[in-house]
């Protein structure tokens, strides 16, 4: 590209075509004030403060929207420019309230800053106040439109970043303002309270509600959101060891200027009065606060006793998909090196083990194969079994941006109508549990029509011939019969997917939490390989429910795999770790999460150490889980709160929150991100990694770490995936596990289409009808899933005052035809009964579900829906089926 040279304030500067005057000025260190410009948004030239003078014509140009042209002579500070800017500021101030003293925006106000920079104090115009505000009852956002300068940043953030369409301009002239549809309050609109508008508003027009501190904070720390697996950067503002505000991290590659409601407002669980502030020991059925020494001594002696009397495999540990990489690493070292057992697993078993197994056995790489940015550049995006805008909002934003602004065709496969449905090019609604047949059907269309990427298949994969023969029965007619999706739609979807140069697949719990989860993941991987969408562009995007589900697995909090997915059956790998830790290591496979429960019931497991996980709510069949845990000789639970599981423990160790510790999380993409300490631990709580190290000490097997840095050094040394990633470099940005070219082939992410093992392997998988479909006496199918306002089992989000105020209780979504059939009115309290258990909830009518299907959200501790599920495991990944079950309804009473 040819450079363009212009004269800027008398100095010649060069830029590239397409740059605006403002871009070039800022790049050249020339400050031009602006209120409506933001690098994340399309410039619109609305505030006109960035006017500059074209010296050749004498015209004033809005520099944010005027492209540079060769030979331009621009004066950014001419008297005319200054005069006009001042007039504009005066105009704004004349219609802005004189409430700066009590405005929470305080020193952050950009209007105030520009006015003061330009020395505009007295306005000299009549005050013409803007019309009053709207009263909001939501606990998140306060709109005071009398302070709105209509820079439209909120509107553009809503349209361009999160693509929600909740707000737009309304009215004309002086009356114009940003508003929801029909100017209704935010809580009655499509607003999801992501907070992107609040973060970007230059004045006090949009502010957080319930601020605990109204001034400007001095301490702002950038860290990673602790909720879902997207891994958004959040910037936390701190005053007196209290987090007062969260904003999207400025440099966040994932968040791109927006969080979701949990990221923006849910951090307040950190300061919940329910936080555990000291270790607890159960004495005669009641907890008593004790010192750390006493608690650790008790845990150490009990674990030791059980190990010595019953053997190491009578102990089992659950790591946490919400704890850092380093903590999970230490926990598995404790299990293997100190306790001598491979009985360690983590909660991602519940939703993402099929990805590890399924992708590992096909593409040979455990996890998402490309970056979020690559997803957004895709021409076709197939979203299957994932309600992105609830369960992975940042991924949802990216997909919506791709569909709305980048011409991507969205192929949505979901029986439920979701927020993405209106963005879909094609929307298929297969019957519950039939995705595998649909995906195989697509593959068959591609094979029979010759739409496959032959070169890719020939050169980079094997077993194609065997696999493709196994597809024969998946004719469009058969697929239609099984899934209910019209055969023509299967063909169209397959063609669109195959004909795109860059096609991506995004999937979530809707795939992995069925009994056929692993097989369906394999089918998806086959489809991606068939069309050459692994490694180069496009890719497979496996969502993660928790902030560090992938990292916990990477770190070997798994019964069969050592850190870096090295098999415990591999003597070489065992030797490496045994040598490094100077101890013997067990080489027999350990128990997966649900197997631990079975073994506890059977009396084979006697002691458990559960870190940051709440199996009573997160595992299926609550009564069985409770029975198993109470039958243990000794249970120690390490958590921030006295969860339903912790209540059953003999010892509870108070853990610090994400904001109180250092470490790293690895998000669903495989991006390793630094978690930074924002505040001191609450009460006597300690970061999980410190507790584990101290516990090892107490057991007489001290771990040789005096700092977290040493733990990281060891990880970098022993986990090939984390080598050469910048993992140790405190300044490194944009780190990806297995990303760099110099990393050893076996451990790096697919690079330039090369599979880690040389070839991707097609694996035949067959559709079998599953039990979860309706059966006698239980005529309805209940789907469960994430909701935007909560996370996981709700142990954190239900303790967030704002989230729980807005979304206080569970509900049962039901279509009106089904409700009529069962005599249920909206608002009735209903008992939902499965062969295994029952819960009650209030009925809420919806039109997003097909007939015969119900929906209930996870994450409400008072409505533990997992007790509806019996224990049935995916045979390969050992993941329990938790997505759908057959139920019947019983009306209890009308509400109120």
């Amino acid at each position: 590209m040819e450079a363009i040279t212009i004269t800027l304030d008398g100095v010649e500067v060069g830029g590239h075509p397409g740059m605006t005057i403002l871009d070039l000025a800022r790049e050249s260190g020339v400050d031009i004030p602006s209120l409506c410009h933001d690098p994340l948004l399309t410039p619109i030239g609305a505030c006109r403060i960035c006017l500059v003078e074209d010296e050749r014509s004498g015209r004033l140009l809005a520099s944010c929207v005027t492209p540079i042209e060769s030979g331009m002579v621009i004066n950014t500070q001419s008297p005319k420019v200054q005069e006009r800017r001042k007039t504009i500021i005066k105009l704004i101030l004349a219609s802005h309230p004189d409430t700066c003293l009590v405005c929470d925006k305080g020193n952050q106000c950009e209007l105030r800053k520009i006015a003061s920079d330009m020395g505009v104090g007295l306005v000299g115009l009549q005050k013409i106040p803007l019309k009053a505000t709207i009263e909001e009852v939501n606990p998140f956002i306060e709109r005071d439109l009398s302070k709105c300068i209509l820079c439209a940043k909120c509107i553009r953030a809503d349209h361009e970043i999160v693509v929600q369409g909740a707000i737009d301009y309304i009215e004309r002239g002086f009356a114009s303002k940003p508003a929801t549809l029909n100017d209704s309050p935010l809580e009655n609109s499509d607003c999801t309270f992501c907070g992107a508008c609040v973060a970007i508003c230059p004045t006090g027009a949009l502010m957080e509600k319930k601020l605990v501190y109204r001034g400007t904070t001095l301490t702002n720390v950038s860290t990673i959101c602790p909720f879902c697996g997207c891994g958004c950067s959040i910037n936390l503002e701190v005053k007196d060891n209290q987090i007062v505000r969260a904003r999207p991290g400025k440099e966040g590659v994932v968040s791109r200027g927006a969080l979701c409601v949990k990221g923006s407002y849910g951090y307040d669980f950190v300061h919940s009065p329910e936080r555990l502030t000291s270790p607890l020991v159960k004495v005669n059925g009641d907890f008593e606060a004790v010192s750390w020494d006493e608690a650790l001594a008790k845990v150490a002696s009990e674990l030791k006793r059980i190990k010595e009397t019953q053997g190491p495999n009578s102990l089992a540990l659950l790591g946490s998909s919400k704890c850092t990489n380093e903590e999970n690493y230490l926990l598995q070292r404790l299990a293997r090196g100190v306790l001598g057992t491979n009985n360690i697993d983590n909660a991602s078993r519940l939703y993402s083990a099929p990805s590890i197994v399924g992708l590992g056995s096909t593409v040979g790489f455990p996890g998402t194969t490309n970056s979020l940015n690559a997803l957004e550049q895709s021409e076709v995006i197939m979203v299957i079994g994932a309600n992105l805008t609830s369960s992975a909002p940042a991924v949802g934003y990216a997909v919506k941006r791709a569909a709305r602004y980048k011409g991507a065709k969205l192929l949505l496969i979901d029986p439920q109508q979701t927020n993405l449905s209106s963005f879909a090019h094609l929307w298929l609604r297969p019957g519950v549990g039939t995705d595998l047949a649909l995906v195989n059907g697509m593959a068959r269309v591609i094979v029979t029509e010759g739409l496959l990427d032959e070169e890719f298949v020939t050169r980079k994969t094997d077993n194609y011939e065997v696999w493709s023969k196994e597809l024969e029965k998946y004719t469009p007619g058969y697929v239609e019969e099984v899934t209910g999706v019209p055969g023509d739609d299967v063909v169209r979807t397959a063609r669109l997917f195959a004909e795109a140069n860059l096609a991506s697949i995004v999937y979530g719990d809707g795939i992995t939490q069925h009994l056929t989860g692993t097989d369906t993941v394999i089918a998806l991987a086959n489809l991606a390989m068939l069309t050459g969408n692994v490694g180069l562009g496009g890719g497979i995007f496996a969502l993660q429910r928790d902030c560090n589900g992938l990292g916990a697995c990477d770190m070997g909090a798994l019964p069969d795999l050592l850190p870096g997915y090295q098999s415990v059956g591999n003597p070489q790998a065992i030797k490496t770790f045994a040598d490094r830790w100077d101890t013997d290591l067990p080489s027999d496979g350990g128990l997966t999460a649900i197997e631990m429960i079975d073994h506890a019931i059977e009396g084979k497991v006697k002691g458990m150490y559960i870190v940051g996980e709440n199996p009573v709510l997160s595992f299926p069949n609550q009564s069985l889980i409770k029975e198993a845990l109470t039958s243990l000789d000794f249970l120690v639970v390490q958590d921030m709160f006295l969860t339903e599981t912790a209540k059953l423990a003999n010892v509870v160790l108070p853990a610090a929150s994400f904001a109180e510790k250092e470490g790293t999380f690895t998000n669903f993409e495989g991006r390793i991100q630094r978690v930074c300490k924002v505040i001191e631990p609450i009460g006597d709580s300690l970061p999980d990694w410190e507790i584990i190290v101290q516990l090892a000490n107490s057991m007489g097997n001290p771990m040789p770490y005096s700092s977290l840095q040493q733990v990281k050094e060891e990880i970098q040394e022993l986990v090939p995936l984390y080598q050469d990633t910048g993992y140790m470099d405190p300044e490194a940005k944009d780190m990806h596990r297995g990303e760099l070219e110099k990393a050893p082939l076996r451990s790096r992410r697919l690079y330039k289409g090369q599979f880690p093992s040389g070839f991707g392997r097609f694996s035949p998988v067959q559709y079998e009808p599953q039990e979860e479909t309706p059966k006698d006496g239980y005529p309805l199918t209940l789907l469960t899933g994430s909701v935007l306002y909560h996370s996981g089992t709700g142990s954190r989000s239900s303790r967030s005052p704002r989230l729980s105020e807005f979304s206080p209780e569970s509900y049962l979504e039901i279509g009106e035809p089904d409700a009529t059939q069962f005599g249920i009115s909206e608002g009735d309290e209903v008992r939902v009964v499965s062969p295994t258990g029952e819960v009650t909830a209030v009925a809420k009518f919806t039109d997003v579900l097909p007939e015969g299907m119900l929906f209930m959200p996870l994450s409400f501790p008072s409505t533990p829906i997992n007790q509806l599920f019996g224990i049935a495991l995916d045979p390969r990944a050992k993941t329990p089926a938790l997505k759908a079950c057959a139920v019947k309804l019983e009306r209890i009473q009308p509400r109120g």
Partner: protein
């Protein structure tokens, strides 16, 4: 159907009409005619004809532009010149039917003028009347002459000849022809049409769009409406020519929903074009294909701005966006787009039919051709006119318009609508062309022309136009949204007697900020009415601010009504008429107006018998009158 066949059919229809023994009655039933009562006249005509058992062909035509003469009918009897009758009522209609159609008396006393060969005693030639003599009808060539809902009428008048010619030459040659004609955009900005076309033509891309901007929104402007109602094909033919020249296969007409009749006429025209092979695929059996959609606007003035218009067509809120990229580079849905206004398109079809040289023969060197204006306000003969560029304001106002009613003095003429300015008498002899009006601080604009007399307060006029633009600002740019509001506030203060020293300077400062600081032409021109009135009528501003006086006696807050004791005869008419019961006094008592109760409605002034003329209106001067009613004739 090939075009030749259509033309043959058109000519034979026309011949049949001309040779028919029946008389033809043309009646203007455009929106303006209907508003003046043409509907009743039409009914009367039909019933009279039926009653008298005569056969006559009634043809409903569009507006010929003589608003002051509506309802207007034209009667063509075989072998006679046609006769126009103005201000026809149902009663007059029945007289005309019996006297002229039946008895053969053309009623010279009622006739306005004749047209065609031959003369009739006592009736002037219509086009010799001052109102029409200096007019040249190019854009409006068929308005009032043909049935706008009959494509054959248009074809018989030479319609689609321009398109036929264009399709025979290269696309670039069409553009060159338009360039040579010197035609400039009639929507207001006056950008050379051919040059604009060239940009779009040269833009890379295979999908291009043509748009007709029919979002006429200036207060008092109705050129486009009349043209679309009276001759839609002239506009559509122009669009086809443009589409061919630029390589577009799809076009939009963006028209305000408040023009239902024009929309109806367009829909009829589009349907007929399709039937005749003049729209759709392979037009006139050529390789050229073109489709037109109508997009109804919801009435936002700013949607006349081309980027806002495009946003509105795309289904978004009509708000202007920065240029570049220009529509010619990235317009509708990001594709090269050419937008011209209704009148421009009508000129195009005429230019292609009759040639660039012919067109360029009218007008001035830089402003070629003709321009339509809606001439309204304090004028004897308001109407829709089309005049060659370069004509003086004086000719328009005094010859065509017949001057100011009631022998009042000319105060100013406002041109260009809310984007234009007010020009005083010193400009009456200035030529009307783009450059001259711009130099004077106004613009030609789309063609609104409002004549103001001595009773008009120039500050109030500025306030009126600013109130319009203020309310119509899309709200995007701060200077336009809040600057116009501040200016309006100041003007409201001034006209209500609360003006302050410094207000004029503040108005100028704000005007400049709004002009320089706005993204689109709405804001860029919104201060023009204020700036021109300050420039030419500063003394009026000063009178309002410093003397609290309205020289035109128009601003209610600054005027007072008084009963002149010497003239009042105590008849009581004013007291009875006063809606505010503000006038005291019994019969034979000199009446007194209670200034606190007076609402300054002016009723007393109007009802006071002219033989007394006892009511005075004053501004800024003291008046001595009795405080209580006193007997007539006594010394107060």
């Amino acid at each position: 159907m090939g075009f030749e066949k259509i033309r043959t059919e058109a000519m034979s229809q026309r011949k049949a009409m001309q040779t028919s023994p029946n008389a033809r009655v043309l009646i203007g039933t455009g929106t303006c005619g209907m508003a003046a009562g043409a509907g009743d006249v039409l009914e009367s005509l039909e019933s009279e004809l039926a009653k008298s058992n005569i056969e006559a062909d009634i043809i409903q035509v569009g507006c010929i532009g003589l608003c002051y003469a509506e309802p207007l009918i034209e009667i063509i009897k075989p072998g006679m010149p046609s006769v126009f009758y103005a201000n026809v009522t149902p009663e007059l209609m029945s007289e005309i039917v019996s006297d002229y159609l039946i008895a053969g008396n053309p009623r010279a006393d009622l006739a306005l003028g004749t047209r065609g060969e031959g003369t009739l005693d006592g009736i002037p030639q219509l086009f010799d009347l001052p109102v029409l003599k200096s007019q040249v009808r190019i854009a409006l060539r068929n308005c009032g002459n043909i049935d706008p809902e009959n494509i054959y009428h248009y074809v018989a008048s030479g319609g689609y000849e321009g398109l036929r010619k264009a399709l025979k030459i290269k696309r670039q040659e069409v553009i060159d022809e338009v360039k040579r004609s010197g035609l400039r955009g009639r929507g207001g900005a006056g950008f050379p049409t051919g040059v604009k076309w060239q940009f779009c033509h040269d833009s890379p891309g295979t999908t291009k769009y043509i748009v007709c901007n029919a979002d006429e929104g200036d207060p008092g402007a109705f050129m486009d409406r009349a043209l679309l109602e009276g001759d839609p094909h002239a506009v559509l033919e122009g669009m086809l020519i443009g589409a061919y020249a630029l390589g577009a296969s799809e076009g939009y007409i963006y028209i305000r929903a408040e023009y239902p009749l024009a929309i109806q006429r367009l829909k009829v025209a589009l349907k007929q074009m399709e039937e005749c092979g003049l729209l759709g695929d392979n037009i006139m059996d050529s390789a050229f294909s073109f489709h037109i959609k109508i997009k109804e606007g919801a009435g936002a003035f700013v949607c006349g701005e081309e980027t806002a218009l495009m946003a509105s067509i795309e289904g978004n809120r009509g708000m202007p966006r920065p240029r570049p990229p220009f529509p010619a580079q990235a317009g509708l849905w990001g594709k090269p787009t050419n937008i011209n206004n209704v009148e421009t398109w009508s000129n195009i079809s005429a230019i292609l039919r009759r040639g660039a040289d012919w067109y360029a023969g009218y007008g001035t060197e830089k402003s070629r051709g003709t321009k339509t204006f809606s001439l309204v306000g304090k004028i004897m003969r308001p109407g829709l006119i089309e005049v060659p560029m370069g004509i003086t304001l004086r000719e328009i106002i005094y010859e065509i318009g017949g001057g100011i009613p009631e022998e009042k003095a000319f105060r100013a003429v406002q041109t260009g609508g809310p984007s234009g300015g007010c020009l005083p008498a010193s400009f009456l002899d200035s030529p009307v062309d783009y450059e001259s009006l711009a130099e004077a601080g106004s613009i030609i604009g789309s063609g609104g022309m409002v004549v103001l007399d001595e009773d008009t307060c120039m500050v109030d006029i500025a306030r009126y136009f600013l109130a319009f633009t203020q309310a119509e600002s899309c709200g995007k740019c701060i200077p336009c949204r809040w600057g116009t509001k501040q200016m309006l506030d100041i003007l409201e203060d001034i006209v209500s007697g609360n003006g302050r020293e410094g207000d004029i300077d503040l108005l100028i400062e704000l005007s400049e900020a709004v002009k320089d600081g706005s993204l689109c032409a709405l804001g860029g021109t919104a201060p023009n009415p204020v700036l021109t009135t300050i420039r030419y009528f500063r003394d009026e501003y000063e009178a309002h601010i410093f003397e609290k006086r309205c020289p035109a006696l128009a601003c209610k807050s600054l005027i007072s009504y008084y009963v002149i004791p010497e003239k009042c005869e105590g008849c009581g008419i004013c007291a009875r008429a006063c809606p505010a019961e503000a006038i005291m006094g019994d019969k034979r008592m000199v009446h007194v107006i209670d200034q606190d109760r007076c609402t300054k409605c002016g009723t007393c002034f109007e009802v006071c018998p002219s033989k007394f003329s006892a009511i005075a209106v004053v501004s800024g001067e003291p008046v001595t009158v009795p405080l209580e009613p006193v007997p007539v004739g006594s010394k107060a």
